[in-house]
Amino acid sequence: MILFDDVSKMYRGAPKPALSNVSINIGAGEFVFMVGASGSGKSSFLRLILKEERPSAGNVHVLGQDLRRIPSRKVPLFRRSLGVVFQDFRLLPQKTVFDNVAFTLRVIGKSSGFIHDAVPDILQTVGLAQKAKNYPHELSGGEQQRVAIARAAVNKPAIMLCDEPTGNLDPATSAGIMNVLSRINASGTTVIMATHDSGIVNQMQRRVVEISAGRIVRDENEGGYATTTIPLGELDTAPIPVITEENSAVAEPTPLRSKSSSDPDEIASPFPWELRA
């Protein structure tokens, strides 16, 4: 389904590669957590899958296609089989919940008959059937993220990429979101989720891939968030292990939100929300 073959990614002007010699194989229907410190390369990993970036070396295969061989005019077609969810929801404020989800289908030319079948269906799945006529600002954060998930899932994508989907939500709401994602995964969609939320990772017991300084340092099935490697020389920016109340056995990094704002990878959003002019 997704195959990285010795992939490296250098950004222009950056001293160190964002990803170096990454090889990984993710099968159909898997649920994978990508964990790692901010700037470790998780976002670059997701962008490569989306063909937002091209690898500096190595090959990326997604859905049996070599991404290098997809001409740029075919990229839109390729992206229709992917769904993407962001930390900050990215809903259209002047459109209702229904229209936000329907927008995705309208712009890829689906008939209005299909839209009127598929949208209520997916809103039912994410538990928002009652809020179809509401506007995003009338919803809670959790509900807004459910709309975003509905938008990403409405076209039944083969792969769903989630970039810290619970990053702005409280633990109870996050659990609801994970519930929805699990349901979507159970229907056959491969879900790849970048996250800093240790509670979720530890609870779900799914495949965990840990990236540190552009390299995969851990890849275990039914893993936890526990991080064992702190690269030398990065101790000052590395997460501080603390014991939490939830799971005292596991050393857990505190998500340092204030710290991450100084990280260039966090400032520049992984997806071109604000298109550069």
Partner: protein
């Protein structure tokens, strides 16, 4: 492609940038009006050329008792000399080029002169003796007046040979310069219009950047994303072209036909049909320019 969706996007884009759209309409309107005026001026020149060049004659002025120019020595041309000219014009060498010619004697010339300057005091100063006898020659091809110069101008009793077209050429050069100026101004304004369209489309795209980002993310085709913007430019430019066409028609109907034709009744002027002939060109220029500018603009915006 969902046509209703695209049209709604176009309407939303146009209403969101209303002031910019109005400025596009105005700039294309004015620049295309200049283009239309240049076209009208050119067809006016062509009409006048074909009208006057057909009537332009070569004048062979004979010596008078007072002329000192050419082969004259203050001695009027003799009947033999005039006969020689007539024979030369009907000779085998020149006859194929000469359509017809006639001889104007002093009394006819005086009558014509009086007719032409009847309101002027100069009439009283001129007597028939002062005016030259003239052979008026119409050529089969008015451009071959050189032949007459070579054959006639050296002959005895000939004061000078004048092609009337040489007077006309100066007038037409002036009119041509005017039409070229209009074209130059029009091209500058069209350039301004193209840049303005490109800027407006960028603004329009920027104000819809959220929608555009989602469209790109969920796999809307490039053509689907671009079409509303190209249509926006097209609608604005079409309005501008329509206004310019109306203005060109107005200029012809009210200024040329309504005023100039009455003021100068002996001159042929462009008619409304010339204005209608220019309109397709105005629309094609405006629409082509707008589509090109907005397409380039939105494509560059999306690629950046």
């Amino acid at each position: 492609m969902n046509l209703g969706f695209v049209l709604r996007e176009v309407a939303a884009g146009l209403s969101r940038n209303l002031s910019m759209v109005v400025s596009i309409v105005l700039v294309t309107f004015i620049s295309l009006t200049f283009v239309g005026t240049a076209i009208l001026l050119q067809s006016q020149i062509n009409q006048m050329k074909s009208y006057w060049f057909d009537r332009a004659q070569v004048a062979i002025y004979m010596c008078t008792d007072f002329s000192t120019l050419g082969g004259c020595d203050q001695l009027a041309a003799s009947p033999d000399q005039k006969l020689a000219i007539e024979q030369r014009l009907t000779s085998a060498t020149l006859a194929p080029y000469v359509e017809r010619f006639y001889f104007e004697d002093r009394d006819q010339a005086y009558a014509n002169f009086q007719e032409q300057f009847k309101d002027s005091a100069v009439v009283d100063l001129v007597s028939p003796e002062l005016l030259p006898e003239t052979f008026w020659v119409n050529l089969v091809d008015p451009q071959q007046s050189d032949l007459i110069f070579e054959a006639i101008s050296g002959l005895p009793g000939v004061e000078s040979v004048i092609d009337q077209r040489s007077y006309l050429d100066q007038i037409f050069a002036l009119l041509n310069a005017g039409s070229l100026t209009a074209v130059a101004v029009a091209s500058l304004m069209l350039l301004a219009a193209a840049l303005l369209i490109a800027t407006t489309i960028r603004l329009s795209a920027f104000s819809r950047r959220r929608e555009l980002a989602i469209m790109r993310l969920v796999g809307a085709s490039n053509r689907f994303i671009q079409t509303p913007f190209v249509l926006e430019g097209l609608v604005a430019a079409t309005l501008g072209a329509a206004l310019a066409s109306a203005a060109v028609w107005g200029i012809v109907t009210f200024f040329v036909q309504g005023y100039l034709t009455e003021a100068l009744p002996s001159t042929v002027f462009v008619t409304a049909s010339d204005a209608f002939a220019a309109m397709p060109f105005l629309f094609m220029t405006g629409i082509g320019l707008a589509v090109l500018a907005s397409y380039v603009s939105i494509t560059r915006y999306l690629r950046a």
